[in-house]
């Protein structure tokens, strides 16, 4: 390039994305002071962003999409979708198996403008929530008089998680020749649903067994819940005295005493000794029979974590290990110090459960005992996040690799147990801080490691892409805002690297 006399030519051969920090004159030469619908190319070049195509190849596609999550099932990677009908004020959840197959609506609830979701063992746990204005503050919390739902992934409608005990009056008599520890026992049956939830003991009756006889049970009620697949016999050990309180004694599962269906009304000739009663069933009395809806769902140490119910915005419910629907009303609770702000998010990282409010972060550590005994540690008293403000990674649904990517009021930050500064969005601080904090609930983030992109849907319903192919570093990451003909509300990753956007006009 020829030079004009006394002028030095300036070559611009690096394009490092958007710079929105300070005045425009301070924009470095290798950044854009303004850009839209471009994307980093190979090396440090740039080009037009990729276009979008339709995801459904059907005559009547889903519309008015509010939320999409990646939903890994037993048989493949799918999507679970919330479509919201503004006119009817109804949210409906669908299961999009592939471009041509959609199940649903699985669940339709009035007022469900958003939902929390966690997949466990191929099932989808769904919690409807919405935004309420409380004292001038937007609060995302579970819908009033609504509950946690479970969906099997097979197209059948979602049902309420947990369940109620069996009811009725069973009959007990001595059976054929057998054995028991003779004396007064209390017997009951525990129903088990197809998702493995054990209800509290029901059909409780007392009976005095004989040493050389087994025990037979009749009129064992079937459950009114069609999802019950088994009924387990539980019993107390011999009671030397009985005060009349059927629930005041410890129950145990009786070995080899299960009705493996929800139809038979009898179980005959059960023999057992008290020494065989090892598996406690009493804890089932304390479990929620209906788990209230919350705004947050997560997994920690194989326990389901649910937070921010309609009545308790600082309460976190934690299930028994391996039993996502078994949440004790007594000791399955974590209390986030109340301050008028709701719990907005929860995520496990390196064996610790981090719980967030909009501008606060605490942690809980599983000490091997019941959740209510877990110690709380304050991590940050200034930074937190919003309901969808933690990036999910690939299509696993899990948020973490070795760090979390979290949207805070300060910016988009890496979190490894503390918020790392400077934040990833340092170069576009002004752009970030221009976002309306009251609408941070609209932010949703995915991390696509194959493309090395962080993709965010913003409160403006535009998309912001951070290309970190040069490094996950505030100085090297390249930011590019994108716009479309419609506004997008949600983003997810499907089939490892397929980026899905959902929107409404």
């Amino acid at each position: 390039m020829s030079n004009l006399r006394d002028h030095q030519s300036v070559v611009i051969d690096k394009f490092m994305g958007l710079w929105a920090r300070g005045s425009k004159e301070e924009t470095p030469m290798d950044h854009f002071q303004d850009c839209i619908n471009v994307l980093a190319g190979t090396g440090q070049s740039f080009g037009t962003r990729p276009g979008i195509g339709i995801s459904q190849d059907v005559a009547v596609p889903l519309e008015d999409i509010r939320r999409i999550y990646n939903y890994p099932t037993q048989t493949g990677n799918t999507l679970i979708v919330l479509a919201y009908d503004q006119g009817a004020d109804e949210g409906s959840i669908y299961h999009m198996v592939n471009a041509t197959t959609v199940f649903g609506p699985l669940l339709t609830i009035e007022g469900m403008t958003d939902f929390a979701f966690i997949p466990i063992a191929g099932r989808a746990y769904i919690s409807p929530f919405s935004t309420f204005v409380v004292g001038g503050l937007n609060v995302e919390k579970g819908l009033e008089d609504e509950f946690l739902y479970v969906y099997a992934g097979d197209g059948t409608p979602a049902r309420k998680a947990a369940g109620v005990p069996l009811t009725g009056n069973m009959t007990i008599a001595n059976g054929a020749a057998g054995f028991t520890d003779p004396g007064l026992h209390i017997f009951a049956f525990v129903s088990e649903t197809i998702s493995g939830f054990l209800a509290e003991p029901g059909l409780m009756e007392t009976f005095t067994t004989a040493a050389s006889s087994s025990v037979s049970f009749g009129s064992v009620s079937a459950s009114g819940d069609p999802n019950v697949t088994k009924r387990h016999l539980v019993a107390t050990k011999v009671l030397p005295t009985f005060n009349g309180d059927l629930t005041g004694y410890q129950f145990f599962f009786v070995p080899n005493a299960t009705i493996n269906n929800n139809t038979d009304l009898f179980l005959n000739n059960i023999s057992f000794f008290d020494a065989d009663l090892l598996d406690d069933a009493s804890h089932l009395f304390d479990n929620f029979s209906e788990i209230p809806a919350g705004a947050v769902l997560s997994i920690y140490h194989n326990r389901l974590v649910l937070a921010t119910t309609f009545d308790d915005i600082s309460l976190i419910l934690v299930s028994a290990q391996g039993e996502p629907e078994a949440i004790s009303e007594i000791d399955g609770l974590l209390v986030y110090p109340p301050d008028g702000n709701p719990v907005t998010n929860a995520q496990e990282l390196r064996d610790i459960l981090y719980a967030f409010k909009r501008s606060k972060t605490v942690s809980f550590t599983d000490n091997g005992d019941v959740p209510s005994s877990w110690p709380l540690v304050t991590v940050d008293t200034a930074l937190g996040t919003c309901v969808h403000g933690i990036a999910t990674v690939l299509d696993s649904g899990s948020s973490s690799i070795d760090y979390l990517i979290i949207a805070t009021y300060q910016g988009l930050s890496l979190f490894n147990g503390r918020f790392i500064t400077p934040e990833l969005s340092w170069k576009i601080e002004d752009y970030w801080k221009a976002l309306d904090r009251d609408d941070f609930r609209y932010i949703q983030i995915v991390n696509a490691p194959i493309q090395k992109w962080i993709i965010m849907v913003l409160p403006t319903r535009m998309v912001l892409v951070g290309n970190y192919s040069l490094g996950m570093d505030p100085m090297k990451i390249r930011w590019f805002p994108w716009s479309f003909e419609i506004g997008f509300n949600t983003v997810a990753i499907f089939n490892i690297d397929e980026i899905i956007l959902g929107g409404e006009l």
Partner: protein, 323 residues
């Protein structure tokens, strides 16, 4: 300003008498005869339009027509173009004349030329304004009302000749309408020029014709159109034109709104502005497609069809002051 010449007839209308061209009375020969531009002061009939039987006493009429699509108009001596390709804002001034070459014993006293005010209706005989010259007889078109180019094109002209004697003879050739034209530059205002619009949205075009007719568009003499649909005016006055974006324009994206003059104030088409017709309901689930050069949306008809829209203005402004 410039000069125009319409000199190629394309059709024969009604006629009485036995008109002939070079050899026969076929329409093609009649047209060739009246279009014949050879200024021939010697030969009587060859290649010209004439009555087949000389001394056929009576009054004989033949009409000729133009059309809007054929290349029959020459501006400033340039190659011919069609009416539809006239430059935007084209308008003829009041000095149009009709000239026809003529040979024969029946001169202006026995022949008359008439401008048609409809395909079957002729005006009174046009005044003869010039004698036989090298280019033939010159007749002025009516001054008032000023015919528009569209009138000329749509209506054509006619020749009526009267033979009273056995030796009367007339031959006609090189009929042309000439005059001066100008290209009017009108002002107007469009309410959403360059902006987004939705189906059913009201679009307003305003003009100041009632205040400044020389420089403003008369909105009563235009037809508005967009490629995506027919525009039906709600209000159409000299100063105001309003319409609703039609349903057929749903998903249409960037559209140019065009005003086509009816020839009264101007001919041709003028682009009034652009609208980007929004998708009314393209909501749904989409996939980012690497390398895709445009965005594909669900059609608002929600019937499985799609619409492709270009990626909105990829732009990057560098750190240089001024971009």
């Amino acid at each position: 300003m410039g000069t125009y010449q319409v000199d190629i007839c394309v059709s024969v209308g009604t006629k009485t008498g036995e008109w002939e061209g070079e050899n026969t009375g076929a329409d093609a020969e009649l047209i060739a005869g009246i279009n014949n531009q050879v200024i021939d002061a010697v030969l009587l009939k060859g290649g010209k339009l004439h009555i087949a039987s000389p001394s056929a006493v009576g009054t004989w009429l033949i009409r000729f027509g133009f059309d809007q699509n054929s290349d029959i108009i020459s501006l400033d001596g340039a190659p011919h173009i069609s009416y539809n390709n006239l430059p935007a804002g084209f308008g003829i001034l009041a000095d149009a004349v009709l000239t026809i070459g003529s040979r024969g014993s029946v001169t202006t006293g026995g022949s008359s030329l008439k401008l048609q005010s409809g395909p079957l209706t002729e005006s009174a005989a046009l005044p003869f304004v010039g004698g036989i010259g090298a280019n033939g007889y010159v007749f002025a078109l009516p001054v008032f009302p000023v015919p528009t180019m569209l009138d000329i094109i749509n209506d054509g002209f006619g020749i009526e000749t009267t033979y009273t004697g056995a030796t009367d003879f007339s031959a006609f050739y090189f009929a042309r309408i000439t005059g001066t034209y100008t290209t009017f530059a009108f002002s107007w205002d469009m309410s959403q020029d360059g902006e987004n619009a939705a189906v059913g949205e009201l679009i307003t075009i305003t003009s100041e014709f009632s205040i400044d007719p020389a420089n403003s568009m008369d909105l009563t003499h235009v037809t508005l159109s967009m490629a995506c649909g027919i525009i039906v005016p709600i209000i159409q006055t000299t100063d105001l034109f309003t319409f609703l974006v039609p349903d057929s324009c749903d998903d249409a994206g960037l559209q140019t709104l065009t005003a086509t003059g009816d020839g009264t104030q101007f001919s041709g088409s003028v682009a009034l502005g652009t609208l980007t017709i929004l998708l009314t309901n393209a909501s749904g689930i989409y996939t980012l497609v690497p390398g895709k050069r445009q965005d594909t949306y669900y059609s608002s008809h929600r019937d499985g069809t799609t619409v492709d829209i270009k990626i909105p203005d990829p732009t990057g402004r560098t750190g240089f002051v001024g971009g």
